[in-house]
Every structure is written in C-alpha cells, then in structure tokens.
C-alpha cells in the first residue's frame, strides 16, 4: 500500500508557541485517515503545513514521493491535493452552479483556457455532484444565501468537482445539524469508495471519526501522542487523559 502523503519530523513554531513538534505521519492511498486532538493541539497547523499555507521550520512533506514543503498553495492544489476550511469558504455572491463550474481542476490549464466557455458536460457534472450532496434544488441560489450546513455540503461538492487525489477535510461535520451528520458520513465514505479519493480528516466528533477512519492519529500539545486503528485509539489511556485534560 503506497503512502500518498508522507510527513516526516515536521516542526512548526509561531514565535514561542510550538504548534507542531517533530510530527511524522503518513496517509495511505485509498484509505480514510483521521486526525484528532484537543483544541489547540496543532491539527489545523499541520493541515496548513501540508497544503503549503505556510513554510515549515524543519522536516519534510512528500506527496506521491515528491517533496512539496517548499511549494505554494496553488501549486499543491494543482498536484491534486485539496483542502476544505474549518470556517467554510464558498464564493458567496455566485450561484451554486457557478461555484461548481469554477472549481474544475486547473491542473493542465493553459494560458488561453481562461477564455473558453464551459462545455455542457461540465454543467451536467456540476449538477450531478450537487445532486450527490443533496443541493440540486438549490443550484441556482446564491451560495451566500444557503444555510451554514448547506454551504459545507457545497464546499464538499466543489472539492469533488476538482477531482483531487486526496482531500484534507477540516472538521467536516462541525456546525452541521446532528440529523444530517449520518448522511454526510455516508457521502464522505462514498467519495472514498466510489470516487476513489483518499481522505485525511480532522474531526472533533468521536462518533463520526471512529465510524469512518481506517487509521487515526492523535495530537496533543503539538506532539504526536498515538496512532492506530479506531478501537486502539478509543482505549488508549494517553488519548483519554489528553481529552480529559489530565496532562
């Protein structure tokens, strides 16, 4: 099983605050990998380091075997690694279909491609994916007029439109109505199995992550605390202590 993302000995500090200290993890291709940890444990910092949002202080980050720790956000996105945001980000003044259309992959975009119209297949694909996340009825509404939960679904659909190889999801279920969470878990799993997208998920909701992930990493105070299958993590005394604050 090949490692799609390989993070080795990564450290990142902001001033005196060590957000990540000597972290090594790997995300295997085709699987769902989870990342948990109490608030402020450095999960989002690690995500930001991987997608090139900021430079790391030391260590190495590889995507499909190639070093990416010096690359910029757009370059990494075009390699096929995409992230969603904790604070959902969509294009609020554009309608849902336009949000989808502009999210097509830009991997091989030549300079003059920007002056092309969108072919009908793409519109169809956009509508199919909106159907997949349950937003077809809302497709012509302005994205900013959707509820927060619907915006999260739209952001997820936009990520699928981009056909990434790996998708980094930062708290996909945060702020979503509990009755909708099961539907979302189901769709995330289908994205993994049907679309073949590797997932790397930050999640606070233990029920969700234990249900979804094949492997889970747990961070605390910027350090890697534990890794293992969901059942192992659930019973790991260090993890329980970290969450109960007995650290």
């Amino acid at each position: 099983m090949s490692k799609l993302i390989e993070v080795s000995n990564v450290s990142k500090a902001f001033g005196g605050v060590i957000a990540n200290n000597d972290i090594s993890i790997s995300v295997p291709e085709g699987k769902i990998t989870g990342l948990i940890g109490p608030n402020g444990s450095g999960k989002t910092t690690l995500f930001n380091s991987i997608v090139g949002y900021h430079l790391i202080d030391s260590g190495s980050i590889k995507f499909k075997g190639a070093e990416i720790s010096k690359k910029k956000v757009q370059q990494i996105a075009r390699l096929g690694m995409l992230r969603t945001f904790q604070q959902t980000r969509i294009y609020s003044l554009m309608n849902c279909v336009d949000n989808m259309l502009i999210s097509v992959p830009h991997r091989n975009a030549a300079f003059f491609d920007m002056f092309k119209p969108y072919p009908a297949e793409l519109l169809e694909k956009a509508e199919d994916l909106l159907e997949f996340v349950g937003l077809y009825e809302k497709r012509k509404l302005r994205a900013g007029d959707l509820s927060f939960g619907q915006q999260k679904l739209l952001e997820f659909a936009m990520a699928l439109m981009n056909e990434p190889e790996v998708l980094l999801l930062d708290e996909p279920t945060a702020g979503i109505n509990p009755t909708l969470i099961n539907g979302l878990i189901d769709r995330l799993k289908r994205a993994n199995t049907e679309f073949g997208i590797t997932l790397f998920v930050i999640e606070h909701n233990m029920r969700v992550i234990m249900n979804m992930a094949d492997t889970i990493y747990c961070l605390a105070h910027g350090e890697l605390l534990a890794e293992g299958a969901p059942s192992e993590i659930q019973n790991d005394q260090r993890v329980i202590d970290a969450y109960l604050g007995a650290h």
Binding site: Q74, A77, F85, S92, P105, R107, P119, L141
Partner: protein, 370 residues
C-alpha cells in the same frame, strides 16, 4: 416574492451564458442609436457626447477590477495618461525628433502632412493600447501582492507618482507638455472624427467585456472577488487572472488616453494626462453609482454622472463640485449597491437571478469584505 425561473443565467449548450439576452439587446440597440444620432441632433454637443463615451469606457474598465474582481484601484487613470503620452510620442516620433519638437513646444518649422497625421493617430493608438497593457503587466507583478485598502492606496500612489515623474521628464516636454499635431481639416471635421473613434472605442469595450465575462475568466475573477484564499486553495491561477484583468483595463484606457490627448490638442502631465482627482475618481464614482460588478451599472452610472456633471457646470457654476460630492456621499451611505445593484435585489428575475422564496430577504450584500 416568488422564486423566478429564468434561464438567462445558465444555459445548457456550448456557452455557459448567452452573450446577450433580449432585454440587453434592446438597451444596447438604443445606446448605439443614441451614439449615431447624438452628434446629428445635437451638433453643438459633439465634444461632450464624445467625452460621455470615454466616461462609459472609464467606468467599464474600472469595474473589471473594482467590481468583478474586488480590487479597488484608485490609480487606473495611470493607464489613461500613459496611453496619452505613448500615443503623442509615437505621433511625433514617427516623423520628427521628439526632443527637438517638445523643446520648442511644437513651434519649430516642422509641419505634419495629412497623411502623417492619420498614420500617426492610427499607429499611436495601437501603441498606446499595447504599451499600457504591458505597463499593467509589469506593475501588476509589483502591486498584486497588496490587498484591500493597501491596493487602493498603492495604485493611487502609482498614478500620482507618474504625473510628477512625467512632469520632470524633459524629453516629453516636462511640465509644459506636448502640443499635439494639428488636425488637417475643419474644427467640425475634427469633432466628428474623434467622436466616431470615442464611440467605437466605448462600444468595443462593452462588447469585449460582455464576451469576456461569459467565459471562464468571468467566473474566475468573481471567485477572486468573493474569496481569493479559497480560489488559491482550489488551484486557480489567481495572479494570471489578475494580470489579464488589469491588462484588459489598461488596453482600453490607453486608447481612451490617446483619443483624449488628440481631442484636447495639448497634453501636460497633471491636469490632462494623470488627472487623479477628476477622471481618476470619476471612474470609481460612476461605477459605484450605476452598480459595480454588473455590466450595465457602469454604463448607466457614467451616463447619469456625466449629464449631472455637464448640467451643473452649465447652470450651477460654482456648485458643481458640491453636487458631485453630494451624489457620491448619498451613493456611498444609502445606496452602496448602486442603481443596477438595487434593481437586481428588487427584481432578481429581470437578471436571471434566482432567490429562495422561503429565505427572508438578506441585507444587501456589500460586496467582498475589505
């Protein structure tokens, strides 16, 4: 309000958007008709109507960045002035020595023949368009690192600096400017000649932008306006799009500058070429008045603004700046979305925008967070 189903916005088929809806075509035809009949019906106002077309061009080109892309430039007038000077230097330089010509303020022995005049204008305008675009590419590389108010002030500084620098550059006449080659014909002939060019330039700008906004480029710059960080995270070539947007702006502004320089007959850096506080601010005010981020807003805003401006200059001399100031203040405080923006919220169906009938009306969107 009921949800409106209208397929104006999204069309199956080859194009994402129809280039022009029926309503658009009617208004556009009316505009063209006015352009053709205007100087015939009101021959005394040919110059003013020609400037009106330049105003339309100003507002449209400002809106590419300010409205569609969310980058409020206060220095777009730079490309107007650059185009004006490039055009002048080419017109003179093709046939005689620029330094010698400017050193005697065009009073030397040299006279342009009619052929030289027309060739000079044609080549000069092309050079102005291309030269201004190239300047936009070079400057964009520097200032596109700035966002929000920093971008606005950075570009303003750029235009102000350009005026001063050109004023100190002896080869192009410095502060005393360049007298343009004299039109080989009657005063009326000159008015009509440049009227037609201004009219064509404005219509060409409109049609080009109408097409441009229907391509992927239109959606991409809208995405940059709504959330540039997200656009980057999705792999959009943001710098590429921003640079092209500014270069397109500069292309048409360069032509406008070349035309205006020839119409006034004499160019100098501060009042004519780089008038930051008049034309430079007007282009922003007109786009905001009509409704930024729409195709018709800048056109409507420019027409209204120009009429009010000319009327106050004629009938309330001494109060003209007060009137314009009052319009801008009312616009900014009570009417931020502008006229077409307000219509879009009131009658979204006209524009093919669908709203959720169940959702309570939201507060008017103020555009991107700055």
């Amino acid at each position: 309000m009921t949800a409106v189903t209208d397929d104006n916005a999204t069309e199956a088929g080859t194009g994402r958007r129809r280039l022009m809806s029926r309503n658009d075509s009617f208004i556009f035809a009316g505009l063209v008709l006015f352009g053709i009949l205007g100087p015939i019906l009101f021959p005394n106002y040919t110059f003013q109507i020609a400037v009106l077309w330049l105003m339309v061009l100003f507002a449209l080109t400002w809106d590419i960045m300010g409205g569609q892309m969310g980058y409020n430039s206060l220095g777009n007038i730079f490309f107007f002035g650059a185009g004006m000077y490039i055009c002048a230097v080419v017109q003179v330089g093709l046939f005689t020595d620029v330094g010698a010509y400017t050193s005697v303020s065009g009073q030397g022995d040299f006279r342009f023949t009619p052929d030289q005049y027309y060739i000079g204008v044609a080549v000069g305008l092309v050079a102005a368009a291309i030269g201004s675009s190239l300047l936009a590419v070079a400057l964009g590389w520097i200032v596109f690192g700035l966002r929000g108010p920093y971008f606005a002030i950075g570009t303003l500084g750029m235009a102000l600096a350009a005026g001063e620098l050109v004023g100190a550059w002896g080869w192009v006449g410095g502060g005393s400017g360049i007298p343009m080659p004299v039109y080989p014909g009657s005063g009326d002939g000159k008015s009509y000649f440049f009227y037609v060019l201004c009219f064509v330039a404005a219509i060409a700008t409109f049609m080009f932008l109408k097409w441009l906004y229907s391509t992927r480029f239109g959606l991409a710059i809208n995405a940059i306006r709504d959330d540039e960080d997200k656009a980057q995270a999705m792999g959009i070539h943001t710098l590429r799009h921003k640079t092209v947007a500014w270069a397109v702006s500069a292309f048409f502004l360069g032509i406008a500058g070349g035309l205006f320089g020839n119409m006034t007959g004499f160019i100098e850096p501060l009042e004519v070429a780089f008038p930051t506080v008049t034309f430079g601010i007007f282009m922003v005010a007109m786009a905001l008045l009509g409704g930024k981020g729409t195709i018709w807003g800048p056109v409507l805003g420019a027409i209204l603004f120009h009429f009010v401006k000319e009327a106050t200059w004629t009938y309330f001399l001494g109060w003209q700046w007060v009137t314009l100031g009052a319009i801008i203040i009312l616009n900014i405080i009570y009417f931020q979305q502008g006229i077409v923006g307000w219509l879009q919220e009131k009658y979204p169906g006209w524009f093919g925008i669908e709203v959720d009938a169940r959702a309570p009306a939201k507060a008017p969107s103020k555009g991107p967070a700055q």
